[in-house]
Symmetry: C2
């Protein structure tokens, strides 16, 4: 069965709380949120169900923490990449590479975060949706910068930003470790495709 | 709760078998495959669990039939669109529009088909994977035709075909009825983006 060693959860303490999150990611990925029991999650973390409740009140709280950490990481990754030195095409290139690589490398976590969103409680759902909006804003900002600089030609910035993010996120669905392309290679391919999508001048050596 | 009225299942007879498939789509979409019971599916179709077993031996057989019909429709849609009269750019444009519109309009079915693939039995899984390969081949064929005709510039045809299909399929994840764009509008936007991805000359009125 899957064994997630997702360093995104490295900051979660104590150790038992982190092990439970990793167990929950694997269980949700394998069986779905609704079919997973807290007993199953505790077992994967080598703990008793009673010990789980010391750290998380409900199964939903585990899903919420996974979604929160996953989205936080992905917003930070995109923000940092979008803020690197260089022209706007270089920044978009780097942002797409980094975001794609993250979704390939963390495909198990990313799938849980994307597929189980509707199982969150209303307040948690609203919080995650606002984090997703931040992600969209970062990408939209890059496209607007490129248009303002005369480097990109994009008629529908909002729709194109949604499409670019969707392309990157869906890597988590189809990516399989050991497939024909490494996460880096997919990132490089996608960065080139996205530069074309926004009408950026593309190097001749295509 | 969701009420799927997916005409993709229109050819399924008798009526009870079709109602059960529609009930299963809704149940799987809401709760996931593993957390859904045949009692729940039967109830949604207004039938008893015993009546369900007249038509489907197992819950997995329902998922298999949903996946088979869903993939068949999507292969046919793409093949027909790719075969219309016109230049290769027009054919790709039409194929993307049609494929995207289908994934928006049938987002509930498409999500089940995409997210629950791993719950299929080995033989069924292999059959569905070979249908997915046919879909990829149709799109790859279009890209190869465009490159051969000197209309597209694509260095990695296989990788680009995967990216284009992924972009279209992921519409089913994020699309919400009543959102800012209709399925037709998303199809038109995406067709333009894909023509750029393959380096096709794009009309100036961008």
């Amino acid at each position: 069965m899957a064994e997630t060693a997702d360093e995104s959860f490295g900051g979660v303490t104590p150790d038992a709380a982190r092990r439970l999150l990793l167990g929950a990611v694997d269980a949700f990925a394998e069986r779905g949120f609704h079919a997973t029991t807290t007993r199953d999650i505790a077992g994967r973390a080598g703990m008793s169900p009673a010990a789980l409740y010391i750290h998380y009140r409900t199964k939903e709280e585990l899903l919420y923490q996974i979604s929160r950490v996953g989205h936080e990481r992905s917003v930070v990754i995109l923000q940092e990449a979008a803020a690197v030195e260089g022209g706007v095409a270089d920044r978009l290139d780097f942002a797409v590479r980094t975001f794609v690589r993250w979704h390939a490398e963390h495909h198990t976590t990313a799938r849980v975060v994307q597929y189980e969103l509707s199982a969150l409680e209303d307040g948690h759902y609203a919080e995650i949706v606002s984090m997703r909006r931040r992600t969209e804003e970062v990408l939209r900002g890059l496209l607007e910068d490129g248009v303002a600089a005369g480097e990109f030609t994009v008629s529908d910035v909002r729709g194109t930003a949604v499409a670019v993010l969707s392309l990157c996120i869906d890597v988590a669905r189809w990516y399989r470790p050991g497939g024909p392309r490494t996460p880096e290679e997919i990132g490089a391919l996608y960065a080139g495709l996205v530069l074309r999508m926004v009408g950026a001048p593309v190097p001749v050596a295509d």
